[in-house]
């Protein structure tokens, strides 16, 4: 081989070497980059978020649960507890199935289920018996005990704790009965359907010292915990206005649920569904109860509660002094009684801020939550964004030193979703917010409802405080009822610290 051949053959090597050198230099420089003074300031003010590992107790005694209400939400909670019908497991995509099968075992068993619609009850009984998370192939368990009356389920000796996912108008009575029987309670939001019930549930829970958790799984979402840190560290200055929203635009999102064709008086226990009304059998009322005041409270109980509790998680502000609600049925003119567009304003004169809740069930325009303070504002969506006010004193130095630009978003959380690229394409993509179904822990996707149930079970086992206990539930219950009252009575509703008037 000639020397000339060798040189020409190796012609690419110097370039490879140059690339390697430059890349290494760039990489080292990026890794060694000092945090700016502003970043250091933020880090010094925020306590590191504690890693909330799902508490699990695989060795102790199994806790024995009963489920009251096995409709859409009841079924979802059973899944979050680790129980699904074999058919549902078969129907999941591989990815969903993996998330479900990877979900930690909570060391529980479901010994009884209760529902007023027979086919749903039978399905739930099969799901509850599916301890090994099997598909149709390999499933051979006998269904667990089925109850038509929640009183019997609660009275049963083989049940220690009850999960309540009935229609809203039964939350109160079931929770009170369970507490009085000494059974621990996980209750779906909204806490109740009547103001009196809110007080009764609180008193029963406190008197019987049971562990109560209200179903606001937002308490487990990492970005909400981080938002709480930011607000509580004073990084926003004095918060004076908060904006929260609901935007959905689909029949399902507007609670127009399917009504099973086979449903009728022969398999629906209508008498027990009614609480203190005398309405003749009505399938729509039974399956779409959220549309009617006798059973639900519309946006207030269903969605305002989530928004309210998320802000209460961050600011711990409690019950508002003054509430107004306006709105109407502007789109879904399907015979419903509850509004589909609504504005509720919660006033906190003593704390010097207003909380605005604005909702539409006929537009899915994306509007993240906003905490607005005199120093900076925080936008809470899939990621957290801080907007420093141009007149800020707290951040004055960093604005001067050009560490930050006022009113430009500063990302406070890492968003791996944003790392979208491919060769020669720097396409920016808009990522729709995916709601609060999942949170990420150490890169793993976890169902927040699972974490919230685990948090409750841990409280039952160890006596540790739960994240949305009876005090927070009481605040949510009163606030939601005030919003409903304000709308239905078309007036300003007040809370004097003891009662609503």
């Amino acid at each position: 081989m000639e020397r000339r051949d060798l040189l020409k053959g190796l012609a690419g090597i110097p370039f490879l070497g140059a690339y390697g050198y430059l890349f290494a230099r760039k990489f080292t420089a990026e890794n060694a980059k000092e945090a700016t003074a502003f970043q250091k300031f933020i880090q010094s003010r925020i306590m590191p978020s504690q890693n909330t590992k799902a508490p699990s107790d695989a060795t102790g005694k199994k806790l024995r649960l009963g489920i009251v209400g096995c409709g859409g939400r009841g079924r979802y909670l059973m899944k979050s507890l680790g129980f699904m019908t074999p058919g549902d497991i078969d129907r999941m995509s591989d990815r969903q199935r993996k998330i479900f099968l990877d979900q930690p075992d909570l060391n529980i068993e479901i010994n009884g289920v209760c529902d007023l619609y027979k086919p749903r009850l039978e399905d739930a009984a099969r799901a509850a018996a599916n301890k090994d998370r099997k598909g149709t192939e390999g499933y051979n368990s006998s269904p667990v005990k089925q109850y038509g009356k929640f009183e019997n389920l609660i009275a049963s000796d083989d049940i220690d704790a009850v999960v309540i996912a009935t229609s809203d108008h039964w939350h109160g009575p079931v929770a009170v009965a369970a507490a009085n029987a000494g059974k621990h309670v996980y209750c779906e939001k909204a806490l109740t359907h009547k103001i009196e019930d809110v007080f009764e549930v609180r008193d029963a829970v406190k008197a019987n010292r049971i562990v109560f958790q209200l179903g606001h799984q937002n308490r487990q979402a990492e970005n909400y915990k981080m938002a709480a840190n930011v607000a509580q560290a004073g990084l926003l200055g004095n918060i004076n206005l908060i904006e929260t929203t609901t935007n959905r635009n689909s029949p399902n999102g507007a609670w127009v649920y399917d009504i099973p064709e086979d449903a009728g008086p022969h398999n629906v226990d209508w008498e027990r569904f009614l609480r203190d009304t005398n309405t003749p059998f009505n399938k729509e009322h039974f399956f779409r109860w959220r549309l009617f005041w006798d059973y639900g409270t519309g946006l207030n109980g269903d969605l305002l509660t989530h928004e309210y509790d998320a802000i209460n998680q961050m600011l711990k502000m409690g019950i508002p002094e003054i509430v107004t609600t306006t709105g109407g049925i502007y789109h879904w003119k399907d015979g419903r009684e509850v509004p589909d567009v609504q504005q509720t304003v919660l006033e906190y004169p003593e704390k010097n801020f207003s909380l605005l809740y604005s909702a539409s069930l006929a537009s899915n325009m994306y509007r993240p939550k906003k905490l607005m303070g005199d120093e900076a504002s925080l936008e809470i969506g899939g990621t957290l964004k801080l907007y420093v006010d141009s007149g800020s004193h707290l951040y004055e130095d960093y604005i001067k030193s050009e560490d930050i630009v006022p009113n430009e978003p500063i990302g406070l959380t890492k968003d791996y979703q944003a790392q979208v690229d491919a060769i020669s394409s720097a396409t920016e993509k808009y990522f729709a917010s995916r709601g609060l179904l999942y949170t990420s822990q150490g890169g793993r996707i976890i169902d927040t409802a699972h974490l919230h149930l685990a948090d409750w079970l841990n409280g039952v086992r160890t006596g540790a405080p739960v994240s949305c206990g009876i005090d927070e539930a009481f605040e949510e219950g009163i606030t939601a009822m005030m919003a409903t009252k304000a709308y239905r009575e078309k007036r300003v509703v007040r809370w004097d610290g003891e009662k609503v008037w």
Binding site: D5, G12, Y19, Y416, V420, I423, S424, A426
Partner: protein, 162 residues
């Protein structure tokens, strides 16, 4: 006949040089994309695939429905980028490298095809049919045909065809 003609042309060093530089540059581009992805913690093709609305949408949706397939596509993209980049820079097995690079580019192109859809407004440039992936594909085709590595590159030592 064509091959002979090209061979004769390429014996002229001045004409090989631009092809050599072109091959090195595109190798650099691939290698860097691969290395950057490899060293970015948490990098995944998942969201890129999920957002795709091109003709391969159903394939990509199928891929992201399984953890295993996501892992395979993540490693796959990185490995193909690294190998293609390395081979192009050194001028070794350049026909193989050009092919793998072209296959990858077809996927990139069809993920977000510049067919004039409104959804392209978020892209970093404005393209119609011909975009950067398309041009890169053509460049690799030229490399594949002219094989400059036989003159400048490791292929010269290995093929020893001169």
């Amino acid at each position: 006949m064509e091959e002979i003609f090209l061979d004769m042309e390429l014996k002229n060093y001045k004409q090989i040089l631009p092809l050599f530089v072109l091959r090195t540059a595109i190798g650099w581009l691939f290698l860097h994309e691969g290395l950057y992805k490899l060293l970015t913690p948490g990098w995944t093709a998942q969201y890129y695939l999920a957002q795709s609305e091109g003709p391969l949408q159903s394939l990509f949706q199928w891929v992201i429905s399984s953890e295993t397939l996501i892992a395979v596509s993540n490693y796959g993209v990185v490995i193909v980028l690294l190998i293609t980049g390395f081979l192009l820079m050194t001028g070794f097995l350049e026909r193989f490298a050009a092919m793998t690079g072209m296959v990858l580019l077809v996927f990139f192109y069809l993920s977000y095809p510049p067919f004039g859809e409104i959804s392209d407004v978020m892209a970093e440039g404005n393209y119609l049919i011909v975009d950067k992936n398309f041009i890169l594909f053509l460049v690799l085709w030229v490399i594949y045909k002219f094989r400059p590595g036989r003159y400048l590159g490791l292929n010269r030592l290995i093929c020893n065809n001169n």
